[in-house]
């Protein structure tokens, strides 16, 4: 009887609750909005990656951005992984992945998932359009919960944009980042932040925690996708990428005034005329009203980027084009990365030793480094690197200074071969005899392996290539046109392998106008030499030659390609020293002497 009673009760309750439920049926547009959100999240989830360190001890999250498996994550996620990692997708499949490029300052890394050419991808958004009050969601692997690789989703509001979060030393700086109250926990690191439409607007990597332990307290930060877009080609080049600096420092004066309080006389900014006491008005198209705003804007650019700076002196605004130097000396950066990689693994869900540590980022801080020189690092000695999967091995090449040289070599070869083959430049000979017009007058140029001679209307110049090249920077005012041409000729003659040290840098803007070019860099007898290619058709659009770190380069812009005896060659050369025009050369003839041993075999 009692039993029946309870059943009746239950039924009544059920009936009641059904009634109650039907009474609060949400409005159709609410249901529609919900359905739409479910759809967006479902789609976005397919591109989310659960990253595990090879031995399964640590990991984080990532997001795939191209069908061939390139995925973004944090540098601090891949740093302990070495070259290889395991990546789970929400279809339950586990893939091998290899590190491609790293940006330790920006805490970004690019990896490639292997084994498919039709990976689901996230659509890149525009993080500059994100506003406070937008809805956003994070997908990832918090606390490494995704045992079956099904990612966790957390929804929230954009709490702030263009935020700046200080680096630890000089690494892991979050400049111009997005702040959200969508839950970002340890393990979410490297995972995507999507806008309400499912477009990728950032890569989560950091949160403010402080005394509350290492769990979300409503303050997470994502690296803006627009920053990452600038670095992407550099990361794809297998490089360790550095960020840009300025060569000068500023302080905030009275409201809205940012004033140069120190400047390096060797910096590009100094050469462009910036001086102590000048007021910074605009940088890279952004109005600058505080020192913080300048730092925020600057932190989103890779080293070598060219952008505009507007400064005010005596009430007059001046706009100049700046080539941004790096934050680090390259060797210094490599050493720092080495230290990061040697840090002991710390699973992200392990509580901090001191929960009240004023730690502001998911990565371990300075004090947790193994004490070098005090005790031998037992953990490292005992740890046996898991064998690298064959697929990863075939795409990994360890070279000091690179995250993965395999990718760099591939890009170099691809660019150069395409340029050479598309323009039939297999045999460019050892000596060129060139003639043409400059300012409606005649000029001529003869350049061979040891010597060049150029006759311009006003001056005749000679350069010898036997000894130190930095004493041969003629014609005067060109910044070293003959040396630049010599290096180009040498590259055409010897090919990439025999030229000297060569690497592919990535894409940079050609001048402040913003046209992007692929940049191949070579070094020879202390000279840095850059070949700039158009990403559209692979044409060589420019040369840059730097006699030293602190000098303006000699720049040659190539255009008006024409057929010359079966080869396709640029017939207009605009020569600049730094930003100062030197000559606009229109070529009328170009004779190539292939006499002495043809370089067919050498030019690979």
């Amino acid at each position: 009887m009692k039993f029946f009673h309870s059943i009746t009760l239950c039924l009544t309750f059920l009936a009641l609750s059904t009634v109650a439920r039907s009474e609060v049926t949400p409005a159709p547009q609410v249901l529609a909005t919900e359905a739409e959100r479910v759809k967006v999240v479902k789609r976005a989830s397919t591109a989310a990656v659960a990253i595990f360190e090879g031995s399964g001890q640590g990991g984080g999250s990532g997001v795939i951005i191209s069908p061939d498996g390139f995925a973004l994550t944090n540098f601090h996620v891949v740093a302990p992984c070495g070259a290889a990692m395991k990546c789970g997708l929400n279809d339950g499949q586990l893939y091998d992945a290899v590190v491609v490029g790293i940006d330790p300052v920006g805490d970004v890394a690019l990896i490639q998932l292997l084994g498919r050419d039709d990976f689901p991808t996230a659509e890149l958004g525009d993080s500059d359009k994100v506003r406070v009050g937008d809805w956003a969601f994070a997908i990832g692997n918090p606390f490494l919960l995704a045992d079956d690789f099904t990612p966790s989703v957390s929804y929230g509001l954009i709490s702030g944009v263009h935020r700046y979060q200080y680096p630890a030393g000089t690494l892991l700086e979050y400049a111009d980042c997005l702040q959200t109250d969508a839950a970002i926990n340890p393990g979410n690191s490297g995972g995507p932040l999507f806008d309400a439409d499912g477009k990728l607007i950032g890569v989560n990597g950091r949160g403010s925690f402080e005394k509350r332990g290492r769990v979300n307290v409503g303050v997470g930060y994502a690296i803006s996708i627009n920053q990452i877009k600038r670095f992407l080609s550099h990361l794809k080049a297998g490089r360790i990428v550095d960020h840009a600096s300025l060569g000068f420092t500023v302080s905030t004066g009275e409201i809205g005034r940012v004033v140069v309080d120190d400047i390096l006389e060797t910096s590009d900014a100094y050469r462009r005329g910036l001086r102590y006491g000048d007021e910074i008005v605009e940088f890279a198209g952004r109005e600058i009203t505080t020192a913080n705003a300048l730092k925020t804007a600057l932190g989103t650019f890779p080293r070598d980027w060219v952008t505009t700076l507007t400064f005010r002196r005596d009430g007059q605004n001046q706009q100049v084009s700046l080539r941004l130097p790096g934050v680090h000396d390259p060797a210094q950066l490599i050493d720092m990365i080495q230290e990061q990689k040697e840090k002991p693994l710390d699973p992200p869900d392990k509580p901090k030793t001191k929960p009240d540590d004023p730690l502001d980022e998911p990565q371990e801080d300075e004090e947790k480094k193994p004490g070098p020189g005090i005790l031998p690092d037992l953990q490292k000695l005992l740890k046996r690197e898991p064998a690298m999967p064959a697929e990863v091995k075939s795409r990994y090449e360890e070279v000091r200074g690179y995250a993965n040289y395999w990718y760099n070599r591939a890009r170099q070869q691809e660019l150069w071969d395409h340029f050479r083959d598309a323009n039939s430049l297999e045999q460019m000979g050892a000596t060129w005899q060139i003639a043409g017009k400059v300012d409606a007058e005649e000029f001529s140029l003869k350049i061979g392996p040891d010597r060049a001679e150029m006759r311009l209307p006003t001056v005749k110049s000679v350069a010898l290539f036997a000894g130190e090249l930095d004493t041969q920077l003629s014609p005067p005012g060109s910044g070293g046109l003959l040396v630049a041409l010599h290096l180009w000729q040498r590259m055409l003659d010897k090919g990439l392998q025999k030229f000297g040290e060569v690497f592919y840098l990535g894409q940079l803007p050609l001048g402040a106008s913003g046209e992007m070019v692929d940049c191949l860099v070579g070094f020879h007898t202390g000279m840095e030499f850059r070949l700039l290619f158009s990403p559209e058709n692979g044409d060589l659009v420019g040369l840059e030659m730097f006699p030293g770190d602190d000098f303006d380069p000699c720049v040659v812009h190539f255009s008006e390609y024409a057929d010359v005896a079966g080869r396709r060659l640029p017939m207009r050369w605009q020569v600049q020293h730094g930003v100062k025009p030197f000559a606009d050369l229109h070529l009328t003839s170009w004779q190539i002497d292939t006499g002495t041993p043809p370089a067919t075999k050498a030019a690979n």
């Binding site: 506003r131 406070v132 009050g133 937008d134 929230g156 509001l157 709490s159 702030g160 263009h162 935020r163 700046y164 979060q165 702040q179 109250d181 403010s208 402080e210 005394k211 509350r212 979300n216 307290v217 409503g218 303050v219 905030t252 409201i255 809205g256 009203t289 505080t290 913080n292 705003a293 009240d356 004023p358």
Partner: protein
């Protein structure tokens, strides 16, 4: 009959229109956020040691630049700075304090005739559990210079009396607070605004506190209704006249008259602890006890024995003088009034 109906229906219709209008006007959350951010300020002051952030938040409560914030060590400096949403920086004047609710009122030195956007404390929007709310503050000091403060979202989860502790001490405020599920009370958030999706102020984000029962961090705000009057009083300067009077009263109060013996005044700032209370004295009948620490007298913060003696000298013997004392980690409120003592018994003293 018709008229009566009309009297009812018309305002109703008007109300419906009004409600609809406010809804429509508030349709864009971005705009609400942007406008509300301009009424929240960043405050920088003392602190900076581990776990003692040198910053907090505040809200503008008058067009003339009155800023309401929480009373804390951050304000204990002559170098206090208030930074507005547009990046302008002010050195504020301290107008008043409400020790019970741990609030402080600052005033920005604005130009003559200049006004700022502000929260009107007389507006009290209806609040229900389940309402969606926004918490605006400079938590973690993230917003620097002219950066707008951070915005977090959540729902109002409870309206309940505050039962909290700071360290091992129970806090003094025991009235209702709004409990929210947003992480509203992070370091630096205290003094920020809790608003609804129309941008109307619901309450002031409180200091970082833990639940006395569960030990978890609380996310809460003091409802506007609980502090609006106190703010009015502070703005009006009632009970908060900081300046010493130009003329001393003919017959001033003194510790001796009231029956208070303070501990020996041996330091420049000897804390005004009560050593003994004379039996049958006004102090005893007001409830003062030995070991009480006097923290406020006549609405003014008292930092030393000397300050207390001075403050008493400003009051006439006929005045009532409100006191706040710290006893067993809690604040006790009382009013002292000089009354004739029974002379026969006025011999002994209660010793601690």
């Amino acid at each position: 009959m018709n008229r009566t109906l009309c009297q009812i229906v018309c305002p109703l219709a008007l109300l419906v229109v009004l409600v609809d209008f406010t809804r429509a006007a508030a349709a864009d959350l971005h705009e609400v956020v942007r406008q509300t951010q301009q009424k929240v300020v960043k405050i920088y002051g003392a602190g900076g040691l581990k776990q003692m952030e040198a910053y907090q938040s505040g809200i503008l409560v008058s067009p003339e630049g009155h800023v309401l914030t929480v009373l804390s060590y951050v304000l204990d400096t002559d170098d206090l700075a208030v930074v507005l949403d547009d990046g302008r920086k002010f050195q504020p004047e301290r107008i008043g304090t409400d020790p019970l609710r741990e609030l402080a009122l600052l005033k920005l030195p604005l130009e003559e005739g200049e006004t700022l956007p502000y929260f009107d404390l007389r507006q009290r929007p209806e609040v229900e559990i389940g309402d969606r709310v926004l918490a605006l503050s400079n938590l973690y000091g993230i917003a620097a210079g002219d950066e707008p403060v951070s915005v977090l979202q959540g729902a109002l989860t409870a309206i309940a009396p505050l039962d909290a502790r700071r360290g091992s001490f129970t806090t003094n405020y025991h009235d209702d607070v709004y409990v929210v599920d947003a992480y509203a009370n992070n370091p630096g958030a205290a003094g920020g605004a809790l608003v609804n999706w129309q941008g109307e102020l619901l309450g002031l984000l409180g200091k970082e506190l833990k639940s006395r029962i569960t030990g978890t961090w609380l996310n809460y705000a003091l409802p506007t209704a609980n502090f609006a009057e106190s703010v009015d009083n502070m703005i009006a300067g009632r009970a908060n006249n900081i300046e010493p009077p130009s003329q001393l009263p003919e017959e001033s109060l003194s510790t001796e008259l009231l029956g208070i013996r303070l501990i020996p005044d041996v330091l420049r700032l000897t804390p005004p602890y009560i050593d003994a209370v004379r039996r049958g004295s006004s102090a005893e009948s007001a409830g003062l006890r030995p070991d009480d620490l006097i923290v406020f007298a006549g609405g003014k913060q008292i930092a030393s024995c000397r300050a207390l003696v001075e403050e008493l000298s400003y009051h006439d013997q006929r005045d009532e003088i409100p006191l706040l004392v710290l006893r067993d980690g809690g604040i006790v409120e009382m009013v002292l009034k000089l009354a004739p003592e029974a002379p026969a018994e006025a011999t002994g003293e209660t010793e601690p």
